[in-house]
């Protein structure tokens, strides 16, 4: 066992990759500043030099195109944005260019770029610093999308993303940066497109991603006590998604709850419900369930975010309801932590 933080795992992943391949570069606003993007890029410039590791102008769109152009000549770029929301400026380059270049030039090119986007919630991040738009990226043919929930996946999936010949959108949740996990040394990889079955169960399949995996595990522990056996699937990759494992699990349990950190309408969770309903209609023992963020921008106020986020309690309640469990006091079930808007004591705001 070697416990390290998620943020350290990211850093290690970049280091290992850059060590093993001189064609990898790493840039983004703040990459070389003292905060080093929540410590994930710390020490990289010292190790690999300022040609390969650099800060950049606030020019998200051009910088994406520049990564694309460099990748056409054998460079593998890792670009980071401190919030996904900033990357909305670069949708033209991402969608009209990176995602399609391999296809529309008949295979003449590959675009091996990795775009790290930090997503989050809470502590007053508000409407434009908290968007979880994985559904957007999943909608676009040609993009791969990953959302690791453990330090080990963070490292291994990041390495796989960097070496993947396609553009990969790598979504890391701010609330996971300090979580600890066992992480192997070296250049470890994990196949993009394979989920983690974190827990075997027989009554219901709970599908989750990124930070919600933490909440799903908590809920499943609680439900176990109540006699409901949950199979917990951490998606880990969003596109390609591991349909085989999902279908296999739902065939077994006959029930599904799909959770999502993003808005509800046209969400990844919705896609999962749709596909499962189409493919496994006859196997479902109960209506499928979804728990995604409401179709509402995230408000800033501490008061307004109370009860706003999806937590273990919400997951547990959804599952209990489908089994017609009566509970005396609903709000007693895995209550929201206090304060509800931070991931843990380590978080000292503002960023």
């Amino acid at each position: 066992m070697r416990l390290i933080k998620y943020s350290e795992a990211i850093n290690e992943g970049i280091c290992e990759a850059m060590n093993s391949d001189k064609s990898i570069i790493c840039f983004g606003l703040g990459t070389t500043d003292p905060k080093a993007i929540f410590s994930t890029t710390v020490g990289l410039e010292e190790k690999f030099g300022s040609e390969r590791v650099f800060d950049m102008p606030t020019s998200e769109n051009a910088m994406t195109g520049i990564a694309i152009g460099a990748s056409m000549n054998g460079i593998k770029a890792i670009m980071t944005h401190q919030r996904l929301d900033f990357f909305l400026l670069a949708m033209d380059q991402l969608v009209n260019n990176a995602a399609k270049a391999h296809y529309m030039f008949g295979g003449a090119l590959s675009i091996p770029i990795t775009i790290r986007l930090i997503i989050g919630r809470g502590w007053g991040q508000g409407p434009t610093h908290s968007q979880n738009l994985q559904a957007w990226f999943a909608h676009i043919p040609g993009l791969k999308v990953v959302m690791p929930s453990t330090p080990s996946d963070a490292k291994s999936l990041l390495i796989s993303s960097i070496f993947d010949p396609n553009p990969v959108v790598f979504l890391e949740h701010r609330w996971l940066h300090n979580s600890l996990g066992d992480v192997k040394k070296g250049l470890i990889k994990k196949k993009i497109g394979e989920c983690n079955v974190l827990k075997n169960g027989k009554d219901i399949t709970i599908i989750c991603m990124s930070y919600l995996t933490i909440e799903a595990i908590k809920a499943s522990n609680y439900l176990e006590v109540k006699g409901i056996s949950c199979e917990v699937i951490d998606l880990s990759s969003i596109k390609p998604i591991d349909w085989d494992s999902i279908f296999y699990s739902v065939k077994k349990t006959g029930r599904i709850l799909a959770c999502d950190t993003g808005f509800t309408t046209c969400s990844v969770a919705g896609e999962i419900i749709a596909r499962v309903s189409i493919e496994l209609f006859d196997k479902l023992k109960a209506k499928p369930l979804r728990l995604a963020m409401p179709d509402v921008p995230e408000p800033t106020s501490f008061g307004l975010t109370k009860g706003f986020y999806i937590g273990a309690g919400d997951i547990a309640r959804k599952c209990l309801a489908i089994f017609d469990h009566k509970t005396d006091n609903e709000s007693d079930i895995l209550p929201e932590p206090v304060p509800h808007d931070i991931p843990g004591d380590w978080f000292k705001g503002p960023f």
Binding site: G124, G126, G303, L304, G349
Partner: protein, 322 residues
Amino acid sequence: MEESIDKKKLLKTMMRIRAVEEKIAKEYSQQKMRCPTHLSIGQEAVPSAISFCINKNDFAVSTHRGHAHYLAKGGDLKAMIAEIYGKETGCSKGKGGSMHLIDTNVGFMGTSAIVGNSIPVGVGLALSCKLKKSDQISVVYLGDGAVEEGVFYESLNFAILKNLRVLFVCENNLYSVYSSLDVRQPKHRKIVSIAKGIGAKAEQCDGNNIEECLKVCTYAISTMRKEGGPFFIEFATYRHREHCGPNFDNDIGYRTLKEFETWKLKDPISNYQNRLLKEGSCSKKDFQYFAKEIDDEIEEAFEFAENSNFPLKSEAFKGVYS
């Protein structure tokens, strides 16, 4: 000009902004203002000068670092503090926080947490004025980082094309977060020269000298009012505290203590106080009196904010559509 300006009022405007920010800094660690907050301490001269050149019905838009701009435009202090506290009495009803301030009563049409995002909005406001045949102007505050966004360039091009009255106020404080200009913009290329290249009238100005700011702004605005079209001003300025949050951060290594101290010496407020003392337009007593008046107002605003209620949880789900 010398004669006509109300030096005391100028000073007081700056002092008030400073005091509000200092108070936020002081209380911030209590963890009651739970949102990213970017203070303007050190950068008070520019908005203060501008507040003397524009009218209440002129428009302004600003950035993540918008407290000073909001206050200088006449924004409601209580509503701002309450917003930072996330209260229902906040100017955005707690939905926006420090980075989303608005007071449409005084033409302050919002700040944005996305760099460069409010620039075209300011140009659109100016377009609306032209369409309505009004002579209002529109002030766009932006930082040295924001000029790196393509939208800055697109917006300025359109403002010139349509001869819109937009005052682009670029507060060049040398940094974007902790990234210095070196790693973002070509050496020796001045921001003002970009604006000129695009075709705008443009000037540079010492953003720590409020009387110079006032002069340059007055000139720019009178030119705009006369001839139409935008004007771009690059102000040299400096933030004293960390990029986001209440503390000093000279220890973390992105800028030298020497640099900080050099700029600290240029502090717009203490310098102006010294100057007014020297020329006899103000006494130390005046300063104390101003400070007291300001403090009382601020005290009241913080009390108001603290005593206000959080919005009801259910409000989170309302107001997505108009």
